[in-house]
């Protein structure tokens, strides 16, 4: 650092320490000003919130949802274990009871309810076709129930969709009028299930896409109630244990409050909602923000011991002159890590974490540089125990931890080659394991297996055609084009192909209705379950069906011009890994078989297609974010140390830590998904701090003070190592606190960052000094000392 900059900074810190009360007031004012926005927080827990509103597949899907009036329904499933399944008088009465109760619930559209109690039977009579209820009274006799079973199971439209193929389950499907009320309605349905008159052998589950976002909304509230106090207690404990000083705890708490208030307040002020994974934001910030003050405090005590007679202002200013650089550069690298997520992520919730964590870290830097020293001026903390005083002879702190760390320093100095050999072997093994890393995602994985919604989803998808939809939008070139038998035959072939694909349990389109009507009008003849070869007759069938049908009866299947139709395939799994091949296969079929054989145009949509699209990009955006973060911190470290090699030394430990985490993920079956993909950029941004502090201190010890390796490492480990250790523990426990979250992606994210922090701490402590000794890089040698730099003695 040039004398010019040194004197400028000295003036700044002298000013800050001259008006400590003003600085503290400014700090508190910022907390109040930004924190006042927080009560206006809004939430968005919908599955769509994970997609950028600009995503073309999402835009198309929303257009289709709007055009065909598709909504995300609530699904109530009734299961009955018996030989005849749900076809018995009691269970059918229960279905009627539930249907009536659901219809009477506020917020539910009673006209959209679909169940055995509302649907009609399309049957052949002697001279025509009858459309009538399956049943309209209770109790039913056994003979009546037998006949209902025969009728229902004879209708392909309902089997798998409304009733399980083995008759063990049936669904009641309802749409909500305003999807914003989904959480209240889900709670209402759960209360309804609790008071339902259930008979022996019957179980009821509530699921469906409509239920999920409502469920998540109250889920994350409850989660925050546990998560935030646990994190707060753990981090407070660490900062207390670091220096056994309540004054230090008070000052650190001020920094933490400032960091969280600025980050969340800006987020709310910018109108960004709180997402499912946003609980990670305050937790991560608290763990990160405390680090700077731990390092500054360590330096402050060293200054105190070196110059016991110095004035308080001199002590604080000297501390800050020594610490501003590592504190600033470690904050910049952390910001770079978060910005890596912000710039590379396609998902608004991850962008929000990236951007507002970066803003929070910037706030933490401001508080550490300007408010913390003011606090030191006012509170004037002193080290209580004489035993922590530095011994002039061995240059190691003499408390227990400093002595242990000092021994480790000597070990590293003596066994450098061995350490590097072990590290290299680990690296090779980790690369091998990491090759098995799997990319996957499924919304159901947002819930723990014990949650009612997880159980419901599993049970329904095991018995029914599935609650995961893949839609294919088929367009004819002209109006009424989809009344043409040839076009309908192509749709029938497409459905045949779909139903032969893995995970697709069934499909529905207008073709199914046309076939059923043709069969019924022809006296129920099985051979008439075909598409009639006459487009006028098909048009007349639709008119016939409308004789008593709702005007919106076929809205979700074909448009008013009979030009655009939706073919919906039901899948019984929502996992990306399960469905990616199916999606690719259908894509190929559409381009090579379907469109080349007809004038029809087909476009894939639906939840499964949209998810496939963005999850396939998840891996790319993850590695891009990681590369961006690694490059940015390498640049920052290189600039900071004025050496690209020093930059490499700094980046190496975090590179290894990320590699090791990939290996842990691959071996323990944790996939790269929404929550977990954020770990790498954060781990790099946070973990590099250890490397920066170590290289910074090594430069001082080896280059400026020209100590031997053994002496330098001993000092490094006992002083810097001690601060780094508490820095590491705060991060490890802070991110580890995410383990208590009820949201599994946050558990996985927390544990991965914790493992990465552990690895980068160990790697930085062992590998950087070992490499320094073995390779003796120029940026650490005394001869290379830049002339303009002034010694910043530790």
């Amino acid at each position: 650092m040039s004398n010019y900059w040194h004197s400028i900074l000295e003036k700044i810190f002298l000013t800050v320490t001259a008006f400590p009360r003003l600085m503290i007031l400014i700090g508190i004012a910022v907390i109040i000003a930004t924190g006042s926005f927080i009560p206006g927080i809004t939430k968005d827990t919908s599955a769509e919130s994970f997609l950028s509103p600009d995503e073309p597949t999402l835009i198309y899907r929303n257009k289709i949802k709007e055009q065909f009036g598709l909504k995300d329904p609530m699904v109530i499933a009734v299961f009955r274990e018996s030989a005849t399944g749900v076809f018995n008088p009691d269970t059918l009465q229960l279905v009627s009871w539930l249907t009536d109760e659901v219809a009477a619930m506020p917020g539910i559209d009673p006209e959209t309810i679909t169940s055995l109690a509302t649907e009609d039977n399309i049957v052949a009579s002697d001279d025509g076709m009858l459309i009538e209820s399956f049943f309209d009274h209770h109790p039913l006799s056994l003979d009546e129930v037998d006949s209902i079973r025969e009728n229902v199971m004879d209708l392909p439209l309902y089997v798998g969709n409304l009733v399980a193929k083995d008759a063990s389950a049936t669904l009641i499907i309802a749409e909500v009028i305003d999807e914003k009320n989904a959480d209240d309605i889900y709670e209402g349905l759960m209360r309804l299930v609790d008071r339902a008159p259930i008979n022996a052998g019957e179980t009821i589950h509530v699921a469906g896409p409509g239920a999920v976002s409502g469920y998540l909304s109250s889920y994350i509230d409850k989660d925050a109630m546990v998560l935030f106090p646990v994190t707060g207690v753990l981090v407070t404990l660490v900062i207390f244990l670091a220096y056994l000083s309540w004054r230090f705890v008070m000052l650190s708490t001020l920094i933490l409050l400032g960091t969280v208030a600025v980050a969340l307040g800006t987020m709310v002020g910018m109108g960004v909602p709180f997402y499912v994974i946003s609980n990670a934001l305050p937790v991560a910030l608290v763990a990160i923000a405390v680090a700077d003050s731990i390092h500054i405090m360590g330096q402050y005590y060293q200054e105190q011991e070196k110059n016991p007679a110095a004035t308080q202002q001199r002590l604080v200013v000297d501390t800050m002159l020594n610490m501003w650089r590592p504190v600033t550069f470690t904050s910049l690298t952390t910001i770079a890590g978060f910005l890596g997520i912000y710039f590379s992520s396609l998902m608004p919730p991850m962008e929000a974490i990236g951007l507002y964590c970066a803003i929070g870290v910037a706030a933490a830097l401001f508080y550490s540089l300007f408010v913390f020293p003011a606090g030191l001026m006012i509170l004037q903390p002193r080290r209580k125990r004489a035993s922590t005083k530095l011994s002039e002879n061995n240059s190691a702190g003499s408390d227990w931890m400093s002595r242990r760390l000092a021994s480790l320093g000597i070990f590293v100095a003596r066994k450098s080659a061995l350490i590097l050999g072990v590290a290299a072997s680990f690296t090779v093994l980790a690369v091998g394991a990491a090759l098995f890393l799997k990319v996957d995602e499924a919304w159901i994985s947002n819930f723990k297996e014990k949650e009612p919604i997880y159980i419901a989803d599993t049970a329904i998808n095991a018995k029914m055609d599935g609650t995961y939809y893949l839609d294919i939008v088929v367009e004819a070139p002209e109006i009424d084009g989809l009344l043409e038998p040839s076009a309908l035959e192509n749709i029938a072939l497409l459905q045949e192909f779909l139903e032969s694909s893995a995970n697709i349990q069934g499909s529905t389109s207008i073709v199914d209705y046309i076939k059923q009507m043709n069969k019924s009008i022809n006296g129920g003849d099985e051979s008439a379950y075909v598409i009639p070869n006459n487009s006028d007759l098909i048009a007349q069938y639709f008119l016939l069906y409308s004789a008593s049908g709702s005007p919106t009866e076929f809205n979700d299947k074909v448009d008013y011009d009979y030009r655009v139709a939706v073919v919906r395939a039901n899948l019984n799994t929502g996992y990306y890994s399960d469905n990616k091949e199916v999606v690719e296969k259908i894509k190929r079929y559409i381009t090579t078989e379907f469109e080349s054989n007809s004038e029809l145009k087909a476009t894939m949509s639906g939840q499964v297609t949209v998810n496939n699209e963005w999850i396939s990009e998840l891996a790319a955006s993850h590695f891009q974010g990681l590369a961006l973060a690694l490059f940015a911190i390498w640049v920052i470290a290189s600039v900071s140390f004025r050496s690209t090699v020093a930059g490499l030394y700094t980046v190496l430990p975090v590179g290894l830590s990320v590699l090791l985490v990939y290996a842990v993920m691959a071996m323990s079956g944790i996939w790269l998904g929404v929550g977990t993909s954020m770990f790498a950029a954060i781990a790099v941004g946070v973990g590099v701090d250890f490397g920066i502090h170590i290289v910074d201190r090594l430069k001082i010890l080896l280059q400026d003070q020209q100590l031997s390796f053994e002496q330098a490492f001993l000092k490094l480990f006992s002083h810097t190592g001690r601060a780094l250790f508490f820095n590491f523990v705060a991060l490890f426990l802070g991110f580890g606190a995410l383990m208590v979250s009820e949201v599994p992606p946050l558990n996985r994210f927390g544990i991965l960052v914790a493992v990465a922090v552990l690895t980068s701490f160990v790697a930085a402590m062992l590998i950087i000094p070992a490499m320094a000794k073995v390779f003796r890089p120029k940026f650490l040698s005394a001869e290379e000392k830049p002339k303009k730099l002034v010694a910043t003695d530790a």
Partner: protein, 288 residues
């Protein structure tokens, strides 16, 4: 009831017929004390207004053409042209309707016979020209939608009349209803007498604006079984044809689905002489 379109009442079913018959009986029986039905305040009682509505003449038989426009929530319009007859055979009502366009449904015919006997199922037949066959179809329920429109069978069946015994009526106020021309109306709130009736007809409450001069409903607003706003029906272009007040335009908008239906009547003729064979299922094939 809101359906003023005389030619609309082609379909009905047993229960509806019972109700209609009861209504008719009550009108006849109560006619003598209709004049003292005005309530103690300045507003007449709801039941008195309902009876005044049902006293209106709607002719023995009628011929007319009808343009049906169904408009979906995207604004796409499906248009169908029909013509048909309605005729009373004593208390039995027969209606026949033929589609004229679009081309692919041209010639499709519907015949409905509403029997006055409660125990007798109504008959309903359809002729599909593409099959060249007449097929019997099941009678619709009161609350079912009529031919893909936003009107229910109950509304179509009642034409310009109302069910007396199914509702409790309260006259709320007098009001000038905006329109061309603005008309002086009574606003009547009708509530189904029981949950069963409400479920059958598909709504829980209706507000009607009844024209004080000609005793026709000008506008009705409906709420569904959960109290959500359901739909609004408006009657316009009301003119006297052969001495009978006749609606020529009916518009209904479903507020939940944003679906709309517009009925436009033309060539209304109450004096037409209709051959009874028109109402025979075997002659459906011939058309009109």
């Amino acid at each position: 009831m809101k359906g003023k379109s005389k030619n609309q009442s082609f379909f009905s079913f047993k229960r509806a017929t019972v109700v209609a018959l009861t209504a008719l009986l009550m009108v006849t029986l109560n006619k003598s004390f209709a004049d003292n039905s005005v309530g103690s305040g300045t507003l007449p009682e709801g039941i008195w207004i309902a009876k005044k509505i049902n006293e209106r003449d709607e002719g023995i038989s009628v011929y007319r053409t009808l343009k049906m426009q169904m408009i979906d929530h995207n604004g796409k319009i499906r248009e169908r042209l029909t013509n048909g007859y309605r005729k009373y055979f004593g208390k039995e009502k027969r209606t026949v309707l033929f589609y004229k366009s679009p081309r692919n449904v041209k010639g499709t015919g519907f015949l409905t016979i509403d029997y006055p006997e409660a125990e007798k199922e109504d008959d309903q037949w359809i002729y599909l020209p593409a099959m060249r066959k007449v097929r019997r179809i099941s009678a619709a329920a009161r609350g079912d939608y009529f031919m893909g429109t936003d009107f229910t069978y109950d509304e179509i069946k009642n034409e310009t009349k109302v069910d007396i015994s199914d509702y409790t009526r309260v006259t709320l106020r007098e009001e000038i209803l905006d329109g061309n021309p603005a008309v002086d109306c009574y606003v009547v709130e009708s509530t189904p007498v029981s949950n069963e009736v409400a479920k059958e007809i598909g709504f829980s409450k209706m507000l009607s604006w009844v024209d004080k001069d000609i005793w026709m409903i000008r506008k009705s607003i409906y709420w569904d079984l959960n109290g959500n706003l359901l739909k609004t029906i408006r009657m316009d272009d009301i003119r006297k044809i052969q001495g009978i007040w006749t609606t020529h335009k009916m518009r209904v908008e479903n507020h939940k689905s944003n679906h709309k239906t517009v009925f436009t009547f033309d060539n209304v003729d109450y004096g037409v002489v209709v051959d009874n064979s028109v109402f025979n299922k075997n002659t459906l094939k011939r058309g009109l």
